[in-house]
Symmetry: C2
Subunit: 284 residues, 2 copies
């Protein structure tokens, strides 16, 4: 499996670049798509990477590097990264929501990543917000992911175009051949009515969802990251914040609950996985 060899090469190369003694490297942390078993470091399945079924990834990397290795769900790792080093730094209770092709998330509970009974906590994209709403990629209906992910946004923009709405999106997407987060961002910036409308709807859904999640979990901060949020920038967050706060059941100290953009971009997962690896090595 050449991927494993490339991972080992990366590890060796990073140790070289960092110029640290090998004996000082306490752990390797890996953020991977799931489902996976973080206790035993086994990738159970990865729908988008064929052939990765029941792969004991931690053990394989550990054997080849001699360094204790730990595996965690990629979005959990991202949430932990933002908690430990990014937008959630210094908070004890954080919800991380990552909006891209799908929507994933993670929960920090009292300073620790919440894994859950089946190591499956934080599947925030598959919380139903519109019962009997549009079908989700997971086969159920009305999940947040079916309403506010890039997949959902693209579906609605395509439907608008198919229905004869004028839009600059077809022109903007010519270069890459698909509607990327960057295309969406450019269309909104240019004031494209269809794009603005569809994005405003997604922002509204995200706002109601964040409000609901706060009523359920009562965190100190909600960190929003992922491709869509990154491409749209800070201005995208304000309507989400406003709607979310309207949906808080308790208005007491409502303004103390931070609703903020992620800070670490693509590094959130890598840094979070490294931090988690270090912690787990210490606890082992």
């Amino acid at each position: 499996m050449p991927v494993i060899e490339r991972m080992v090469e990366s590890v060796e190369s990073v140790i070289g670049i960092a110029d640290v003694k090998r004996s000082r490297v306490r752990a390797i942390g890996i953020g991977s798509p799931g489902p996976l078993d973080p206790v035993n470091g086994v990738i159970i399945d990865t729908p988008n990477l064929p052939g990765w079924t029941n792969v004991p990834l931690a053990k394989l990397i550990e054997e080849k590097t001699g360094i204790p290795t730990f595996v965690e769900n990629d979005v959990n790792a991202g949430t932990y990264g933002e908690f430990a080093l990014g937008a959630g730094r210094g908070k004890r209770d954080v919800i991380g929501i990552f909006v891209g092709t799908g929507i994933g998330g993670g929960l920090i509970c009292d300073g620790k990543l919440r894994s859950g009974f089946r190591h499956n906590a934080g599947e925030l994209g598959h919380v139903v917000l519109m019962v009997d709403g549009p079908y989700c990629g997971c086969g159920k209906k009305g999940c947040l992911e079916a309403l506010a992910s890039r997949t959902a946004i693209v579906r609605d923009i395509r439907a608008g175009i198919a229905a004869g709405r004028k839009s600059i999106v077809p022109e903007l997407m010519k270069e890459r051949g698909r509607i990327t987060s960057s295309v969406l961002s450019k269309a909104v910036e240019a004031g494209d009515a269809l794009a603005v409308e569809v994005m405003a709807q997604a922002q509204y859904y995200l706002g109601v969802y964040v409000g609901s999640a706060v009523n359920f979990y009562d965190p100190e901060a909600v960190v929003l990251g992922g491709g869509v949020i990154e491409a749209m920038g800070e201005a995208f967050l304000e309507p989400i914040r406003k709607v979310a706060r309207q949906y808080f059941i308790s208005q007491q100290d409502a303004d103390k609950v931070e609703i903020v953009a992620a800070k670490l971009g693509d590094y959130a997962g890598v840094l979070g996985a490294a931090m988690l690896g270090q912690e787990r090595a210490r606890a082992a």
Copy 2:
């Protein structure tokens, strides 16, 4: 404030009945409607009990009894009771959902009651399940409470009757003058088509909600209690369980996640408050 005096009398009377030495009573635990401040034992407000605003309840009871006193949200206390002594016994991670006039809940996280950043975790009735759905008592739209509480069920049955649907509910409610949980239970048992239909809808919403909550929080058990659940009995739970499991994003070990009826009835809150009081006295 005569209520406080009656509470103190109850405490003295219970100590007498239990026939224990006063010095062996470690703590008094109180479950109260909120919002409240469990850290300082202050009732901030109780919408249904006028005059209870910023009442330092713990301090007042402690002064009169000489016993350390602790105050917790009533539904949190109920959840803790079911976790410590009832249907959630032996589990580390539990969601408690109580369906009555409203819908309240509580979260057990790794063997502890989750209080939350603003001591407001577990407002499970005010998670939105039908975005832009019917108005909730809280002023927002589409909350679970607006779809599956007794208030919502009664609203829909009344609407059906007003629209000319035949039903035995008007006859059954004559005695008490209102649609109680027991009236609903009798109507469903008698096969009243309108009541069966409205209850099935509420069960479906509860099922989708429980599935979503499991995807978010990944607990070991979901305990369902409160007036409606108690009156309807075990048969009411099966459709909820079935829909919930369909909505689990991970089917791995899905059958290990228990979805069960509460066991302690009205005692859940009292017992939970007592257990929490004891624990907090020990930690103080």
